[in-house]
């Protein structure tokens, strides 16, 4: 049964230095507030996992929390590049960042394998590309029936997965809807999980398109209204496209970025 705890306590208990941490949310429901709390608690040496590292990972990388990034597409959607990510890769600032990169199909299937308790997943993918040359987690497997050679990807098993959802009830049952991405798989693949929610309600009224994660499959739930900003929570907020556009200028310069981080993450948390 998931416990309901404040965000700071949940991050303190569930996210440890050196962990493999997945923050998921496919454009929608990105757990920004939890990411900021990880920065505030100055976690180090994390392996950050995410299909689409976007602004929240740019912030975590720029803050120096990450040693390694496992991903399939790193950019500011609809805007352009992630400058902190590029600065880390191209100039090792603020520290070197190891990369392990995949395709979306590969990452999604790695989570599926993790959620399924299997060591690998099979797909048609990567063939003929240069991607498999740079990771040990893509190999081939022969079909035992047809002999056809297919691609195998190793299961992802994060130490902790963090996602944001619209609602939870007091038993920790979690409800999300709209674009639900790979969150169910990412939570079920992880050893521990933290879900931040817009609100805790007495009862989860069914909603079309919902995904429900039973409380007994989640470690902790923290109520964090607006915890997905500047991404959005369908039914609660809209995407703050201006923030994404403004991030381009903020993140281009190291000092501007540091000032932003200090003001909007470190001091914002201290005041809360």
């Amino acid at each position: 049964m998931a416990t309901l705890v404040p965000l700071a306590q949940a991050v303190a208990e569930l996210v440890r230095d050196g962990d493999v941490v997945a923050l998921e949310g496919f454009t929608h429901l990105i757990p920004f507030a939890a990411g900021h709390e990880i920065i505030r608690q100055r976690r180090q040496e994390l392996t950050l996992v995410r299909m689409t590292p976007d602004v929240i990972y740019d912030q975590l990388i720029g803050a120096g929390c990450a040693r390694r990034l496992v991903f399939s597409w790193g950019g500011n959607p609809g805007v352009g590049s992630l400058h902190r990510f590029r600065d880390a890769v191209q100039h090792s600032w603020p520290r070197p960042l190891e990369l392990e990169e995949h395709s979306h199909a590969g990452m999604a299937n790695r989570y599926v394998a993790g959620a399924s308790g299997l060591p690998f997943a099979v797909l048609r993918g990567y063939t003929g590309t240069d991607l498999p040359r740079h990771t040990a987690n893509v190999r081939s497997v022969d079909c035992p029936f047809t002999g056809e050679t297919l691609t195998a990807v190793a299961a992802l098993r994060p130490d902790v997965t963090v996602v944001h959802a619209q609602r939870a009830d007091r038993a920790g049952n979690v409800q999300l809807w709209g674009i639900t991405g790979v969150q169910k798989e990412a939570v079920l693949a992880a050893r521990r999980s933290l879900v931040t929610v817009e609100e805790v309600v007495p009862e989860l009224t069914p909603v079309p398109g919902q995904v429900v994660l039973p409380g007994w499959a989640v470690t902790a739930v923290a109520e964090v209204p607006g915890g997905a900003h500047p991404s959005y929570a369908q039914g609660y907020s809209v995407r703050d496209n201006d923030f994404y556009r403004a991030w381009d200028a903020v993140s281009r310069d190291r000092d501007t970025f540091r000032a932003w981080l200090d003001r909007h993450v470190h001091r914002a948390g201290a005041a809360a």
């Binding site: 709209g178 639900t180 995904v211 995407r239």
Partner: protein, 247 residues
């Protein structure tokens, strides 16, 4: 003109795998003009999205709100893209070679210390592998149209004829490359991208000069019809909905 040329390629009723930016604009232009039953599939899991404004990101709420079905990300790749259910996939690239192989990963010789770190693969490798056909939309210049891509993110025709079959890629590969100068198509025998059409006002010399290899040119080389007043009006109206997003 790139957007209009791309939109014209989309026959009504087909299913189209759409990324954000030009492909999304082109697909929505087609839907608003000659192809009202075009099925737009976004990798965020939205099947049959019918946005009334241009989404800024592939996870825009308007896509989920208007979709026939919203499925998980694993499902969109495993059940919908991988088995070959999608007719056309749209791709962009930072580099492209004469066989339509695409690079969206790194520019530079050394993967570990790249000159430019690009966003990476996303859905592209499997879109390139599995869609019945691929349409590439990319601006044409010698830096982008390069003899050898620094990294093969998505396979076009590999090193030439027969390569897709050898690799077990079941989709047809790039059928068209639409640029700001014209249209390239693979030669049916050699698979090499060949200039087949120019946009109005562009010369073959311009197109060849903008290509980092010795670009083959089809005979006869035709010229695309300029955008119609209707196409331009719809396109302007669409872009006005995009909240100041880049065209």
């Amino acid at each position: 003109m790139m957007t209009v040329a791309a939109a014209r390629q989309l026959r009504d009723g087909i299913a189209c795998f759409v990324g954000i930016g030009l492909p999304s604009t082109a697909a929505n232009l087609a839907r608003a003009t000659h192809a009202p039953n075009l099925v737009l599939v976004y990798e965020s899991g939205c099947l049959g999205a019918k946005p009334d404004r241009l989404p800024l990101s592939i996870g825009d709420g308007v896509l989920a709100d208007t979709a026939d079905a919203v499925v998980s990300v694993p499902e969109v790749f495993n059940y919908w893209l991988q088995p070959g259910r999608i007719d056309v996939g749209f791709l962009g690239a930072a580099q492209l070679d004469r066989y339509g192989n695409l690079n969206t990963t790194v520019v530079g010789d050394d993967y570990a210390t790249p000159a430019v770190r690009l966003p990476g693969a996303g859905g592209a490798p499997e879109i390139a592998a599995s869609c019945r056909e691929v349409v590439v939309i990319v601006r044409q210049n010698p830096r982008t149209f390069t003899a050898r891509v620094d990294f093969v993110t998505s396979v076009g025709y590999g090193t030439g004829p027969g390569d897709r079959e050898r690799l077990g890629l079941r989709g047809g590969g790039p059928r068209l490359v639409i640029t700001d100068l014209g249209v390239l198509e693979p030669d049916p025998v050699s698979c090499e991208l060949t200039l087949t059409r120019l946009h109005p006002g562009v010369s073959r010399e311009q197109a060849r000069a903008a290509t980092g290899w010795d670009l083959a040119v089809a005979e006869p080389l035709t010229t695309n019809e300029p955008p119609t007043a209707d196409e331009l009006a719809v396109l302007r109206a669409l872009r006005a909905t995009a909240e100041g997003s880049r065209p």
